[in-house]
Symmetry: C2
Subunit: 267 residues, 2 copies
């Protein structure tokens, strides 16, 4: 009861700066991942390449084995995207072992913090980093389940409002990666402007420099029907999704400004 | 005259799928980087760690040695962020050699493509991946130049409208990474819905499923003054920045829907 599951702290995922903004809670971390339209996935292409590389992918947290798992309970990350043959082959070759070591990251900017001096400028934001081992999903049943999970993350209930199930060609051309999470961490910055006393106490400065926050959020516009669309009215699952997300995004960005951190935790 | 500079194609940055959306043009790639509020920077923490990791950072393309270099000419990427001691030490240790091998990525979603079947769903988007070698900026003059470049990328002209120059403590606590770019690639998807003939020719499907695009863009809200702000009116450099960016972002997302690709290039 009241138990909060957290990811283990390893050297690689321990947030050293601004500890107050760090979170290791599964619930907070999974929520940020699920609210992201795009995830950035990093992997090492091979021993001959000195550079890690990054692919943008779509993903969601979920548990196929325990579908009733809550957002604050252990889950895997399911990824879909323009899966180059590179990461597919690497993940396929890693099937025998633990899987391909990858890093998943996402960041959302919620506001621009305009302070007296450039060094005190900042963003309100939410970011997450996960490390884990990726394998291809090979079970048809699990792949179908993951495709529905990911499609519905793009627009709620879209799966049942489109032509499903996928046919045999669609199933075999779709690649889903399943990532067993090893560790994770999140960082959240909210609140207002924070300046140092050397500037707040200097009237020459405070009398000429505006300080405050510009909230930032993602807006979904009015749906534009395709030329071949035959449905006159935009369906509820789309208008509801747009209305709900626009309100949630705007509210978050505006309310984040007014959260007051203890003085020693600001900046 | 009319010359277009492109990044070299290596195996690691060659876009294999949907080639028609790939770009190697310096101008297109640099513009997407500069329009991003956050960049995702990947590096390998060390030989004992199997996972690459990712940090969110703020960055801009620029050339200190050739400050008049155009957006379509060779430039370095300057990065600032919550630089953990990890990446700082790695970059510092790499000073003697080429630098720390890193990958820089960014993605912007411009619209949700709602097609007849989940497999045809897509995003309009712009994404970039750069590979390069990172070193710390050690020259005071170059660091100050990069701090101004990065501050003004957050809000145009903010540098001259804040308390500058940074004092000695601010200069020494600021770390800027300079990345010599080795290769880069971008991907751009715009246009509308694209479905396969097996579905567009099926009236049972087309009569019940709405298809179209939901444009998506980043909105900057009304500025919220801090409790200690003494300037009654929001300055022009802020209101102009907000108005210009809101219009540009919304216009891009809405116009992207109507760009028609040749049929063989769609999807």
């Amino acid at each position: 009861m009241g138990r909060t599951l957290t990811y283990p702290k390893r050297q690689a995922n321990t947030v050293n700066r601004y500890k107050h903004r760090a979170t290791y809670d599964l619930g907070a971390i999974h929520s940020i991942v699920n609210a992201s339209q795009v995830l950035h996935v990093s992997f090492n292409p091979g021993p001959d390449d000195p550079f890690p590389t990054i692919l943008p992918m779509i993903g969601q947290m979920g548990s196929f084995d325990y579908p009733s798992a809550g957002i604050d309970e252990p889950q895997e990350c399911y990824l879909h995207g323009y899966v180059s043959s590179r990461i597919m082959n690497l993940a396929r070759n890693a099937e025998a072992g633990e899987g391909l070591p990858i890093c998943i990251a996402t960041s959302k900017v919620d506001g621009i913090i305009l302070s007296l001096t450039p060094n005190s400028h900042s963003y309100n934001y939410r970011s997450v980093v996960l490390h884990g081992y990726a394998k291809l999903v090979t079970s048809e049943e699990e792949k179908l389940w993951a495709m529905k999970l990911i499609t519905n993350s793009v627009v709620t209930d879209r799966w049942d409002n489109s032509r499903v199930p996928p046919d045999r060609a669609e199933m075999s051309s779709t690649v889903i990666l399943k990532v067993a999470i090893v560790d994770g961490s999140g960082k959240i910055r909210d609140g207002g402007v924070s300046d140092e006393r050397k500037d707040t106490g200097n009237e020459e400065v405070t009398n000429r420099i505006w300080t405050g926050v510009v909230p930032v959020w993602e807006t979904f516009g009015d749906p534009i029907p395709s030329v071949s669309n035959k449905i006159s009215e935009v369906p509820d699952h789309i208008t509801n999704f747009i209305a709900k997300n626009n309100e949630r995004n705007r509210d978050y960005a505006q309310r984040a400004v007014h959260i007051t951190l203890p003085v020693e935790e600001q900046h």
